[in-house]
């Protein structure tokens, strides 16, 4: 536990380094990279030992404040999320060293580096805090620092708008959290999490208010539909390594908060479990559907975060229902699936964002329909991106498949149990729809961006990025493959974390899960070996045949060009058409049908919140004449109010 703080101190020292040495950028970058790496490794060590079965520890910092002691602690849940923060965080920080300022532009770069390191420390403190005040302080630091990181390119208007929407959204969320803790703590009593847990039984309506506020406040941060409206813009506008951190790690703090509240409260009521499950299915399906409609690579990835938050919530809802209905195996599997998918999504989503950043770096555009053929020009980025794609679609032999397998098991075990928990099978439908759509979506991204013929000069002149950017991507891809091929090493600890969230010992009926995971790992290995052997053998067969290289067969048409290729929008069109208006695609025809333009709208922000807000503004504008700006009018107001008050007081005194 102390080691954790030393690690975090090292990360903060890296921030200081970047800020102080700004006149000597090369030295500053080296020192920064080294310190962040050392800090992350040192801070992660105790987390790994806790997950491997070590004992948890708390430390108290006696601060003479009315808010009570500042307690920090590292239990299994914190340890799992600490790894979520530090792994992808380290990769993004190192990537940022090369991607940001590597091209010689230094304006604001040192500050951005320093802020990034402090953000990492703040994220770590969020998961370590064991009392309300340090939790909220770390939470707010995380949110505000993220605002500054997102608005790095603040000369562009859309970045400023995205930052502003994000700032408003996150503060509404924080407000809900303050209300949550205030209603929980009540008038007296301590503000440590232990004290809150001991009062859980005395909450009215089994903590209904607390749970609803948690779902709203933490859900706003996690980006579940319809509270996701701030997310696509913010994630797409940020510099790439910040997008990776936001999508991979920051939104996971919402998930952490939800799980922490559940573990403090004990088994939640069943209706809350259903609520989480249904909003998970909604988020997942709508997130991936909206992702499919996007033309902008980074916006597409941002919508996929909404989808994956949905999958995590399906797991969390399953766990909550298992706890509510008293089916221990379902509770453990659901929570474990949620935690494991959080970890996995952190890995592959930051990998995908870093890969997308590399293509943007190489070509200067995020519009997919201007890219193409980058697989030849950027072979290493392509392979990393492909690994991330296979992982996020949930295909074997990578990590996404493992966590979806755990969640499926939880859902099916709920279905084969007795009673109303069997309706949990709704989640299976959700997961299946999500899986199919995600496959189509990533086939589109990989195919349009990396395969085929370049669709523009920018893509034609794309080139592989520097080793400093490839290294972090390889690291993340390696982690994805490792969890996929040795799933026991990840699922085992995740099950233990799941049991600790549900506060039950691991049920004996879960031995089938352990047996299954071992065989699953073997099976994935067999798949890889067979694919490799098949590829080698088939290459040998091909070598004996006469091979010809020619142009792609155009069915007899001689003059093919790159504009004839299927584009991202045409690839997705039939699927989006099947979902109708829900997909949010806005199509316009112009010039008598000769020009066609399709555009994806953000249904919640552009379709609901902004119109509602302008309606409110319209009403408020009627009150404008009250503000004249002339002194005598205001004096009149003061006198009128005074008279009213006097009247009121006189009334109160008379009887």
């Amino acid at each position: 536990m102390n080691l954790c703080f030393w690690g975090l101190a090292t990360i903060v020292a890296a921030a200081g380094c970047a800020a102080v040495l700004r006149s000597r950028p090369v030295l500053a970058d080296r020192a920064y990279g080294l310190l962040v790496a050392v800090g992350c490794v040192v801070a992660a060590a105790p987390a790994v030992s806790v997950l491997a079965g070590g004992s948890a520890a708390d430390i108290q910092i006696p601060i003479p404040a009315p808010s009570g002691p500042w307690v920090f602690g590292l239990d299994r849940l914190s340890a799992a999320f600490l790894l979520v923060v530090l792994g992808p965080g380290l990769a993004s920080a190192l990537y940022g060293l090369r991607a940001l300022g590597g091209d010689g532009s230094r304006r604001g770069v040192a500050t951005a580096r320093a802020l990034f390191a402090v953000e990492l420390a703040a994220l770590a403190l969020v998961v370590l805090a064991r009392a309300v005040v340090p939790f909220l302080v770390a939470w707010e630091a995380m949110a505000v620092l993220a605002y500054f990181l997102v608005t790095f390119d603040n000369e562009r208007a859309e970045v400023r708008r995205a930052g502003w929407v994000y700032l408003v959204a996150t503060h509404v969320g924080t407000l809900a959290l303050i209300a949550l803790f205030a209603s929980w703590a009540g008038a007296g009593g301590g503000l440590t999490f232990d004290a809150l847990a001991s009062r859980a039984g005395s909450l009215p309506a089994r903590g209904a208010l607390v749970l609803c506020l948690a779902l709203f406040g933490f859900g706003l941060k996690a980006g579940l539909v319809p509270l996701h409206f701030w997310l696509p813009d913010a994630h797409a506008s940020a510099p790439t390594h910040v997008s990776a951190l936001m999508s991979g790690v920051v939104i996971k703090m919402g998930i952490y908060g939800l799980i922490r509240v559940v573990s403090l409260l004990g088994a939640p009521p069943a209706w809350w479990g259903w609520l989480v499950l249904v909003s998970g299915v909604l988020s997942g399906v709508l997130g991936v559907l909206w992702a499919l409609a996007q033309h902008d690579l980074k916006r597409l990835l941002a919508y996929h975060s909404v989808e994956n938050i949905g999958i995590i919530l399906i797991g969390l809802g399953t766990g909550a229902l298992g706890a509510a209905y008293g089916v221990p195996l379902v509770a453990v599997l659901g929570f474990a699936g949620a935690v494991l998918h959080t970890m996995n999504h952190a890995l592959f989503k930051s990998l995908l964002f870093l890969g997308a950043g590399a293509t943007v770096h190489a070509t200067g555009t995020r519009i997919m329909d201007r890219l193409g053929g980058l697989g030849r020009r950027m072979p290493f980025t392509w392979v990393s991106f492909l690994i991330g794609s296979v992982a996020i679609v949930g295909l074997p032999p990578l990590n996404g498949f493992v966590s979806e397998w755990v969640i499926y098991l939880g859902l099916l075990r709920g279905g084969t149990a007795g009673g109303s928990i069997r309706l949990v099978l709704l989640g299976v439908v959700g997961l299946a729809i999500i899986g199919g759509l995600a496959l189509a979506c990533f086939a589109k991204v990989c195919g349009v961006v990396f395969l085929g013929v370049p669709r523009s000069d920018a893509a034609l002149h794309g080139h592989e990025v520097a080793g400093g950017m490839l290294g972090p991507m390889f690291g993340l891809a390696g982690a994805c493959a490792f969890i996929g091929l040795a799933p026991g090493l990840a699922v085992g600890p995740a099950l233990v974390v799941g049991a600790s969230i549900a506060r039950i010992p691991f049920p004996a009926s879960g031995s089938e899960v352990f047996a299954g995971i071992v065989r699953l790992g073997l099976w994935s290995l067999v798949l890889v070996v067979l694919l490799a052997l098949g590829a080698v053998a088939w290459a040998a067969v091909r070598r004996r045949r006469s091979l010809t290289r020619a142009e792609t067969w155009g069915c007899g048409y001689a003059l093919q060009n790159e504009r004839m290729q299927y584009t991202a929008s045409s690839f997705a069109a039939p699927l989006l058409a099947a979902y109708g208006r829900l997909a949010g695609v806005h199509e316009t025809h112009a010039h008598g049908g000769r020009a066609f333009h399709s555009q994806a709208r953000e249904l919640v922000l552009d379709g609901a919140i902004l119109p509602a807000w302008s309606a409110v503004r319209g009403v408020l504008a009627r009150l404008r004449p009250l503000q004249h700006g002339r002194l005598w009018v205001y004096l009149l107001y003061v006198i009128a109010i005074l008279l009213l008050l006097l009247l009121y007081l006189a009334q109160g005194a008379s009887p």
Binding site: L395, P396, L423, V429, A443, G447, G516, W523, L527
Partner: protein
């Protein structure tokens, strides 16, 4: 061999003599000996797709209890692996099609991905019905073992799941009324156009992989319809072969009795498959 049986059935029903049953094997043999033409646009993924197209259905076959008792390699929750393997094969195939940069194959890839995504819920819901009926989470447990599926009590639900699986088979094996395996008119075909640029040995692998895919789903369907756990080994295998042939004949009958759907109608057909399976699941939940 199953595509051959289906084609023969079709030919007989339409009053032709048709190609020999083993025509596919002759085609494969001919293709393997040929050279191949590669587009200058394509990369390694184009060459990987045929291998993946063969390996994934093979490994998925290993998850099914073909002799009615044990699977070659089953595990808890392997139905997720079954679906994911087929998805992996499709993912590489779609990428290979996009790799050529041809608009025809782009079209095929897009349709392939669209229909695959719509068929996924139907497949999973059918598995849900099987899991509910048998209480087991592995394909081996659902279809194999001495415990036969409770056809008495759960007959309606299982029948709905079987019908849904048949729809899934028609889609996954690119048969009518979803796709037309006979046509070479680009605008109407799906699977044929997706593999347009593959030639020689690669095409042979892809064709064989597609036939395996059909056999795979037929075997799954036979497993649901006829539990063979109590039969002696050879009889169980014999029943499996007979069942596979029956399914192929059924496919042929469907193909010769109806026309291909308009592309915009296909999603409705697939949603109908999902609805059927979910009705089965609901029935099973109520019982």
């Amino acid at each position: 061999m199953l595509p051959g049986v289906a084609a023969k059935t079709k030919a007989v029903l339409t009053g032709r003599r048709g190609a020999p049953l083993m025509q596919l094997y002759w085609d494969l043999f001919r293709l393997v000996r040929k050279g191949a033409v590669y587009s200058t646009t394509t990369t390694w993924i184009f060459r990987l797709a045929p291998v993946a197209g063969l390996v994934t259905p093979l490994l998925a076959l290993g998850l099914l209890p073909l002799d009615g008792r044990h699977a070659l390699f089953g595990f808890t929750g392997d139905f997720v692996g079954f679906a994911a393997l087929l998805a992996l094969g499709r993912f590489t195939l779609v990428l290979a099609a996009l790799d050529t940069g041809s608009s025809f194959e782009g079209m095929g890839a897009s349709r392939d991905a669209t229909f695959a995504s719509l068929v996924e819920p139907a497949l999973f819901l059918s598995f849900v019905v099987l899991a509910l009926a048998s209480g087991q989470l592995s394909l081996e447990g659902m279809l194999g073992g001495t415990q036969a599926l409770p056809w008495g009590a759960a007959a309606p639900a299982l029948a709905m799941a079987a019908a849904s699986l048949f729809f899934v088979l028609l889609t996954e094996a690119s048969r009518m009324p979803v796709d037309d395996p006979a046509t070479h008119l680009e605008l109407t075909m799906i699977h044929e156009v997706t593999v347009l640029d593959h030639s020689g040995p690669d095409l042979a692998l892809l064709l064989y992989g597609a036939a395996l895919r059909m056999a795979l789903f037929a075997a799954l369907l036979v497993g649901v319809l006829a539990s063979r756990g109590r039969l002696p080994g050879p009889a169980a295998l014999g029943l499996l072969v007979a069942g596979l042939l029956t399914v192929a004949v059924a496919v042929g009958v469907v193909e010769s009795s109806m026309a291909r759907f308009r592309l915009s109608r296909v999603p409705q057909f697939l949603v109908a498959a999902s609805v059927l399976a979910s009705l089965g699941a609901i029935l099973q939940l109520l019982s």
